[in-house]
Amino acid sequence: MYSYSGKCLVVDLTTQSTRLEELSESLLSSYLGGVGLGTRLLLEKCPPGAGPLSPDNPLVFASSGLAGTMVPTASKHAVVTKSPLTGLVGDSLSSSHWSLALKRAGYDAMVITGMAPSWVYLFIDDDIVHSRKAEHLLGKGSSQTEEAIRRDAGDNRVRVASIGPGGERLVRYACISNDSSRQAGRTGTGAVMGSKRLKAIAIRGTRPISVWDLDGLQKVCSDLYARSQTSSTEKYRILGTPGNVLVLNRLSALPTRNFQQASFEGAEGISGEHLAECYLAKVTACATCPIACEHLYRVQEGPYAGLEMMLDYESLFALGPLCGISSVPAVLKAAELCDFYGIDTISTGGCIAWAMECFEKGLLTANDTQGLDLSFGNPDALVTMVERIGKREGVGDLLAEGTMRASAQLKGGSEHWAIHSKGLELPGYDPRSMKTQALGFAVGLRGGCHNRSPSYEVDMSPGVDRLKAEPGRGLLNKEKEDFAAVLDSLIICKFMRRCFDDFFAEASRLYTLATGIKMGPAGLKQVGERVNNLKKAFNIREGWTQADDWLPPRMFKDPIPSGEATGAVLSEGELRMMIDAYYKARGWTASGLIPLSKLKELGMDDVVELMKGQRNGAQVHPLRG
């Protein structure tokens, strides 16, 4: 095999032992790597009904056939596990040097099971795995943990993925950070790592990577590099994703004050344009990325003078307009704290915004918030609340559970404005004024997500009425999801997608040039459908029901009050209609289950066997049982 090693490292923290498992070419060519391979390993190694924070829940890291080569943006890895936030599949992507180290240490995947008897960090030195005491690292943020480990190793080839204090305290949306500024952000993979008493995974990977056709690969990649410097990526390179703020604001799709509004009067002050003009210090890139979308901002004056922080749109929206905050330094500070504690910025912002609305409505009072004025727009409240969540202190302990559990606990009608789908807080696209994305959020396999179900693209296409719901959106959402799943398994960054003229033809060729494995455009396209059905199969086994494919009451009861999409709202009938059309487009039953014939069509006979681990036919809802 070229590029792939065909090896999966399995680490059992309970017994402090490791072993290697073979990954066949057939498995690798069916699931490629990343989210696909990771989910396949999860389905196999996670006992049905396992508690997400129990030692049984495996934490899977998956590399790819392209990582370690010059393929642009291919230095990525996926983290896949059973999510403590949703109880369903939790998959998250990260990138850069740690991703390279994993591949170059000689592993296509790594599975961590069990729980260490005391806090440890792993040091994987190519083929030798050490387990080291980690007590001295507890309480450190991810960056500090990384610095400490690299300093002890005395070798900057050592790369570190770690959790912060938030992961140590099992904040349900804790993330796993690497290379100081990258995160596997969503669905709480960091909490799973924390539940295993695993503080960090350090890797020194020094093996060279050989490809099947080096000359061929170089030619194709050089051309892709050139294409990555054109208008197809301009937004990422110049303003970065923060350029979304004013665009979505103009369209009434910028969720503001916990989705009470869809445009923000303070938008110009926290826009990408303003950030680029007044705060931009440097633009950097992940390893092997020719685009370079990492915008590092620097605060020059005020209480946070000297702060340097990277920011992307989702973090900006969640800590900014969603909480009514119009101060750039406060948003940067809050983001820095999210990185320190190692918690997902989107879920953190979503939880704080929920709490701000509870405070506004008197459900939470100054008594509950230890005297903090938790009003929308209060920058001190924002910054303080991030810390309290990271420490699980005071009302932060409630918020650390996520809006779904927090509102179930607080009650008082707060479920109405707990803005999540399946427990995953919604990202920065208002579903009332982007109805294809609304469908995407509702049926999303890891919960409310714009990344796995990138259907805002449909809503922003000419000829599509984003304020209207139509059955045709079902198929369009499926196609967007399948395309995303291919990118997430190859793994190639979504920001490259517009650089391809004929994606499946070009990408399948890239795959073959790197790995030597025959792959045609149709075969590659089918991987996407296979991976999404795989994720669905896992969800069904773990207790998904149709009621989970839905959106919060606000989306049906509270129309957008102002702006370009004034009056926009979803009706239950509309969403039902689109969901039904989506199930149909997927070839699923009317209740969203997968017929055996569909699994067989996708060559997933082995998955059928793995589904049989279900507990006696009874579907215990993971969020209630």
Partner: protein, 156 residues
């Protein structure tokens, strides 16, 4: 002939390390960043630049080599290694202020940039997506700096 070397424009470098991939591929036939003759240094988030051998006028590595295995010669006036003499002791690496020399365990000697003599232009210069790399003389680098300083002095 004026000394030319690979110069990296600090303001343009993003730390992508694509130079390391293509150099190692050109020299080793596979992707092996540690054997790239050009290496990226990224000590803090905002500071990143790539460095290759600068073919110093008064090279400390040449002075340091106990076996006199290093010379500045060849048609491009680059650092040349007499492999037969080299023991892989690494004294040249300790003498070098730039970390531009690397031990190659497979040949039991050392490697450094040779400006890709068999190619029309150095691979890294050709491939850098941000055009941060160029084959420059020190004079050209100084000229660019003077021009920038002059332009800045007329900004109000």
């Amino acid at each position: 002939m004026e000394r030319k070397y690979i110069h990296c424009e600090v303001d343009k470098c993003t730390g992508c390390r694509i130079c390391e991939f293509v150099c190692s591929a050109a020299k080793e036939g596979r992707f092996h960043q540690e054997l790239s003759r050009i290496r990226v240094a990224h000590p803090t988030p905002a500071v990143v630049v790539s460095i290759a051998c600068r073919f110093c006028e008064n090279a400390p590595c040449i002075a340091a080599c106990p076996k006199d295995a290093l010379t500045m010669s060849g048609e491009n006036n680059t650092l040349q290694l007499d492999k037969a003499r080299c023991t892989g002791c690494g004294w040249c690496i300790e003498a070098c202020d730039f970390g531009a020399i690397t031990v190659d365990r497979s040949t039991k000697s050392v490697v450094m940039c040779d400006l890709c003599p068999s190619l029309p232009q150095p691979r890294c210069v050709e491939t850098c997506p941000k055009k941060a790399l160029s084959l420059s003389t020190s004079e050209a680098v100084a000229q660019r700096a003077r021009d920038r300083a002059a332009a800045k002095s007329t900004e109000s």
